[in-house]
Amino acid sequence: MEQKLLIVDDEAHIRMLIGQTLEELEDEGVNFFTAENGEQALEIIQVERPQLVFLDVMMPKMNGMEVCRRVKKELGLNDVFIVLLTAKGQELDRQKGQEVGADVYMTKPFDPEKILEKAREVLQLQN
């Protein structure tokens, strides 16, 4: 099955950074998709069914929490592994993240190694 990965963030440099961090996976055949807002993300998730989504929480209009809630609770797409990304210090969000069904929670600034490690784990790719 084709491996797909979606990066959602309204900030271009974060999309670029995560893409750059995970670049070696692209060489290993994983297909990368990016979205810059919640609606775009929802559309790609429904069409492409990526196995892994890095989802920024703080986005205008539809935020990451809402995207996550729709994917997990409304569409019931439980095979989409969602990593919520948020700025450090917003600890309150953790519980909300669990409520909307996020699989993992990571804080920005993120540790590139950890992002890569998590992606390999979810996509079951050997290092």
Partner: protein
């Protein structure tokens, strides 16, 4: 070095591959693309190969575009696309590097914020620096101002220099480390030859730890392999050094403050302990203070307390048999027994007056009475030892009274003393001196007795009223004979004895006399009964009523 491959560029979802495919089709050309190994990545290999164009990025051949003369167009397009990709990747990797650096500094600050001791801060700095700067050992050195030498605050990996050289080669090291510089040592031969660096060390990078332009030490990383440290490495190390030196400085200040506070506390504790031996804590405490230094002239407090006085009977004649030194030793050993008996029952000794003791019981009279009994038992124990040594037994009299007491500080600003001012003290003292008169060991006033809620277990009998010198009101007094040697006999005659006292008080001296005679006949050792017997007889024989009432007046001491 940025890794690029034609395969991944053509595989990616960017449009390069599809544009090239459609271009080849539209040109109706025979063009194919091979990777560096000759494997065809795109297009169909033709029979002839008129054109051959290498795709080169950063002097590296990624592959070849082959085909007819139209292959040049495809090659131009691919080359420009690959170039763009390479630039994008290069930019991306630089941004990622910067981001990693930010992340590192961010984590580092966070870890620094969690610690307040200098060695841990130094260790953290070494760990973080070692993660990004290639090295196999590191050390944080600190200039110890007091000892005038460098000391190792933290180290990681094998120590890369001779530790003893820290002291012997002080000038050379200080010159290098305390210059306030940050440097990449490209030539370590001077230090190696001086025997400071171990011979296997090849590369060294270090940064000074500075606070307010003052150099306090240095962080040094070393490698046994030859490493070309970069300006970026040095910049990062300097950044880490800058952050950690501020943290180390605060930690050292904090430690110093803590140490000084502890020393002050210890000094205070010693003062407190020493003064506590002279002025009881309870005394200071009851004045509303914690330490003696808070006590001020004129501080005072009034409380209802029980005052206990004890005195060694016939101490004057006893002391005549001893040398002054023996006297002193005797009083000391005696007081050593009495002190604990008093403290055990929540009392405190207000004053030692030679062989006499004045103690205060702030809680209740029961505490004081229990202490009095214990004191008498201590004396009995002491007498057993004295008997073995062929020494005469000693006796103490204890008097106690409950009433208001003012504790306070008197004197002048140069000499203050803890004082009690109270009639209660006088009464307790007088009651003590009455014990000999009545041949009893413990006398308590009625006001003390009234404060004792649980009288069970105390063996008490009335001693009637006493007119104390200088007092208008007569005081009702009682004997406690718990510590008496013939306690059973006194219990047997208790009813008759009390009846005798009661008759005496109602001036029925004849009947009282008979009652006391009965007690004395039963227990000839009851000197208290004998005292009352003699007294009643004297009244009957001589018709003398002191003060006109049935009151035993206090006799001269």
């Amino acid at each position: 070095m940025i890794k690029l491959s034609l395969k991944s560029i053509l595989n990616k979802k960017n449009e390069t591959a599809s544009v090239i495919v459609s271009l080849i089709r539209q040109l109706n050309a025979t063009v194919w693309i091979e990777d560096e190994t000759g494997k065809v990545l795109l297009g169909t290999q033709g029979d002839t190969c008129a054109t051959e164009r290498k795709i080169i990025v950063d002097n590296e051949v990624l592959g070849v575009v082959k085909g007819d003369d139209k292959a040049n167009i495809v090659a131009d397009l691919l080359a420009s696309s690959v170039q763009k990709d390479a630039e994008k990747k290069k930019l991306g990797s630089e941004v990622l590097n910067l981001y990693q650096e930010i992340n590192l500094i961010y984590n580092f600050s966070e870890r620094l914020a969690q610690t307040i001791d200098a060695p841990t801060i130094s260790q953290t700095t070494l760990e973080e620096a070692g993660r990004v700067i290639k090295s196999n050992s590191g050390v944080v050195l600190l200039w110890d101002e007091d000892a005038q030498r460098l000391k190792i605050l933290a180290s990681s990996g094998e120590l890369f220099f001779a530790e003893e050289k820290l002291y012997s080669e002080l000038r050379l090291l200080s010159k290098i480390l305390l210059s306030g510089q940050s440097e990449i040592l490209t030539d370590v031969s001077t230090l190696s030859q001086a025997g400071i660096l171990l011979p296997e060390v090849r590369s060294v990078i270090y940064s000074a730890l500075k606070v307010n332009k003052r150099t306090m030490g240095a962080i040094i990383l070393s490698s046994n392999e030859w490493v070309q440290y970069t300006a970026a490495d040095l910049k990062l190390l300097t950044t880490l050094a800058l952050q950690s030196s501020a943290a180390i400085e605060s930690a050292l200040l904090y430690e110093k403050n803590l140490r000084e506070a502890k020393e002050r506390e210890e000094a205070m504790r010693l003062v407190y302990e020493a003064t506590g031996k002279f002025v009881p804590y309870e005394f200071i405490g009851s004045l509303g203070h914690n330490v003696i230094t808070d006590v001020r002239l004129g501080d005072q407090v009034e409380k209802i307390v029980t005052v206990l006085f004890s005195d060694i009977r016939d101490y004057t004649s006893l002391s005549e048999q001893m040398s002054p030194e023996e006297n002193f030793k005797f009083v000391c050993s005696f007081n050593e027994r009495m002190g604990p008996a008093i403290r055990k029952h929540n009392g405190f000794i207000n004053q030692y007056l030679g062989d006499a003791i004045m103690a205060i019981f702030p809680r209740n009279a029961q505490d004081a009475l229990l202490a009095a009994i214990d004191m008498q038992k201590e004396v009995q124990d002491l007498n057993k030892i004295r008997a073995v040594k062929n020494q005469t037994p000693i006796q103490i009299g204890v008097g106690m009274h409950t009433g208001p007491l003012i504790m306070g500080i008197t004197g002048d600003e140069h000499r203050m003393d803890a004082t009690t001012i109270s009639d209660t003290v006088n009464i307790a003292s007088r009651l003590e001196s009455l014990t000999k008169h009545y041949s009893v060991s413990v006398i308590l006033s009625d006001s003390s007795l009234k404060q004792i809620e649980q009288k069970d277990g105390f063996h008490l009998r009335s001693l009637g009223l006493v007119q104390l010198k200088g007092k208008r009101e007569a005081v009702e007094i009682h004997e406690c004979f718990n510590a008496s040697t013939d306690i059973e006999k006194k219990i047997n005659t208790l009813a008759v004895f009390n009846e005798g006292v009661s008759l005496f008080l109602s001036k029925s001296f004849q009947e009282a006399n008979l009652a006391f005679k009965q007690v004395v006949d039963t227990d000839p050792g009851d000197y208290t009964a004998k005292f009352f017997y003699r007294n009643t007889k004297k009244i009957i024989d001589e018709g003398v009523f002191e003060n006109g009432v049935g009151i035993v007046s206090m006799h001269e001491k």
